[in-house]
């Protein structure tokens, strides 16, 4: 019966652990509300969560319409980043020359403060959806490409050699050895990118736009509606986390051996 108890304990434990993030977020929210009430912080300096929630509810229609705009930009940019990031990582892994040409340019692209270029980006690309997608790509592309590149390098050279001796062609070696070795790091890149994508779109809107959460935020601020500003930040955070979790679910589906490894220490599932 000892084993059974053991299992039960573990289950309880993981039940608790799984809910901890919610608990921690929840307690921070409570703390924040308490702080605002006790210190009587004026709403334009820091609105309490209750007030933010109410404002969010009241303005839900407007905020939703802006969110749709921003999410679309973010998702388009994210998909584009994934495709190009992957493609480039493959190419750089395959041809070292390409890598030594492009890698420094990649790093440079990350050091440029985009907002500094705001006016110029608009001049070059107009005020449509294009510059927003470009900002998202600029922000998301790098983590994806870099992690994938490093993942591709992590493949065991002995395994690659074995595949060669077996007569596998480049594509096969890639699919069977290099790619699976790279997947965990590819996904951690994807998750970082997902985290950044909505923020990237918001910054893109900052450059100039007619709608989107970025625009909405500047407006709420210039009309001293800090509560609405926070409401839109909440939306940004929630949407980003939603994206993040989708990637995490896909990861769990695609990398089953990692999941199996997780329970390595546990003999009792």
């Amino acid at each position: 019966m000892k084993r059974y108890t053991n299992t039960e304990l573990k289950l309880k434990n993981s039940f608790f652990i799984k809910r901890l993030p919610f608990l921690s977020v929840f307690s921070i929210i409570m703390l924040w509300e308490a702080l605002v009430r006790i210190l009587k912080i004026p709403s334009y300096i820091l609105p309490g969560p209750y007030e933010v929630g109410m404002s969010l509810f009241e303005s839900r229609k407007i905020i939703l319409s802006h969110t749709v705009v921003t999410s679309t930009e973010a998702i388009l940019g994210f998909i584009l980043s994934t495709i190009t990031g992957l493609a480039l990582a493959f190419v750089m892994n395959r041809w070292k020359t390409v890598k030594s040409i492009l890698y420094p340019l990649l790093v440079i692209s990350q050091t440029i403060p985009i907002i500094a270029l705001a006016p110029l980006i608009l001049i070059w690309m107009g005020v449509g959806v294009l510059p927003k997608i470009m900002v998202v790509v600029l922000v998301c592309f790098f983590p994806i490409c870099v992690s994938t590149t490093e993942g591709l390098q992590s493949a065991d050279p002995d395994m690659i050699n074995l595949m060669k001796v077996m007569g596998a062609d480049h594509l096969k070696i890639f699919r069977e050895v290099v790619l699976p070795s790279a997947l965990p790091q590819f996904f951690s890149g994807l998750k970082i990118a997902a985290t950044y994508s909505i923020m990237g779109a918001v910054i893109g809107e900052w450059l100039g736009a007619k709608s989107g959460l970025g625009i909405y935020m500047t407006r709420t601020m210039s009309s001293y509606r800090t509560d609405l500003l926070f409401a839109s930040i909440v939306v940004v955070v929630v949407t980003s986390i939603f994206l993040f979790m989708i990637i995490e679910i896909i990861e769990k589906l695609i990398i089953p051996w990692n999941r199996v490894k997780d329970i390595k220490g546990d003999d009792v599932k």
Partner: protein, 315 residues
């Protein structure tokens, strides 16, 4: 395609409307009401124009207009002056407000009543060289030393946020931040620019267009201004209606502020001018000279190229 819809009437023909991008200078406010009104009331549509209003990042509007990415936008006379001197081909085609409603303002508690009081204080601005120049000119007049002022750049951040902590004073439009101070019951002291020097009663804000748009499509400019003028006339006559139009386009704005601001500003769009938007050559010349005399610019602006009344609808 250019829509040769000249009768200014109904725009009922089958031709697709011309797409126009109009860029604001700042978050939507009562300086922009006429444009929103023209859009909401269908004045643009009547002229065969499909106007998209965008809000750019800070310091971007002039560049967008100069490069032709936006056909029209909001600018300031001093901006047009500097831009033209740097080679940006933009032209002021209408004055939104006839007189300069801007002011240096500070919360009352800071005790800033004359430019002399700027000494030892912190100014928060959006990063234009004209700010320091204007401050210097004003302070020189009062024998105060500009070097005693710390100049902070806080971008498009609003007046109350900036003066909450570090900064002491900022440059505002009275019709917006000044009214806000009343509504929020946060008294301010302010120094109106136009009271300090006649030359400082220049046009701000103005509507700008690129030279290329003007030379290649004068008709478009005419149609645009005809609709915009109707919009500002509407705003002048119906402050409440105009305020509501602005509010419906930017619902997050504080409605009390918009209504009060609109009431204050509506009579000032046209003011003493025969028609809305008219710009006087003396105003441009005096301001350029004022800048040049104080060595704030290296050469005089060719004012005839910098502004035009040619496209305003004649009464």
């Amino acid at each position: 395609s250019t829509n040769q819809n000249k009768d200014g009437g109904t725009g009922q023909d089958t031709k697709t409307p011309d797409k126009i991008i109009f860029t604001l200078d700042w978050a939507p406010n009562t300086n922009h009401t006429g444009i929103y009104a023209a859009k909401a009331k269908g004045f643009f549509e009547e002229e065969g124009l499909d106007v998209e209003i965008i809000q750019p990042g800070q310091n971007t509007a002039d560049q967008l207009v100069a490069s032709g990415n936006a056909q029209f936008g909001i600018g300031y006379q001093e901006g047009v002056t500097l831009a033209r001197l740097e080679g940006l081909p933009i032209v002021s085609i209408a004055a939104v407000i006839q007189h300069n409603t801007s002011a240096f303002a500070a919360p009352k508690s800071k005790n800033i009543n004359t430019p002399k009081d700027f000494e030892g204080k912190k100014y928060a601005g959006w990063g234009s060289p004209i700010e320091e120049a204007t401050l210097k000119a004003l302070m020189d007049k009062y024998n105060a030393d500009i070097n005693e002022v710390t100049i902070l750049t806080t971008g498009a951040t609003d007046f109350f946020a900036t003066t909450e902590k570090d900064a002491d004073f900022a440059w505002i439009y009275y019709g917006w931040d000044g009214i806000a101070s009343k509504i929020k019951n946060k008294p301010i002291s302010y120094i109106m620019l136009k009271d300090e020097d006649k030359a400082l009663d220049y046009y701000t804000p103005v509507i700008t267009a690129g030279e290329k748009t003007i030379s290649e499509n004068p008709d478009l400019v005419k149609r645009f201004l005809r609709a915009a003028a109707k919009g500002y006339d509407y705003a002048a006559q119906n402050p409440e209606g105009a305020a509501n139009i602005l509010l419906s386009n930017a619902p997050e704005l504080d409605s009390a502020l918009v209504i009060e601001s609109q009431k204050w500003l509506s009579p000032k769009y046209k003011d003493d001018a025969p028609v809305w938007g008219l710009q006087k050559k003396e105003v441009w010349e005096e301001y350029t000279k004022w800048l040049y005399d104080r060595k704030l610019i290296d050469e005089m602006l060719d004012v005839d190229k910098a502004f035009t009344n040619d496209f305003l609808p004649e009464k």
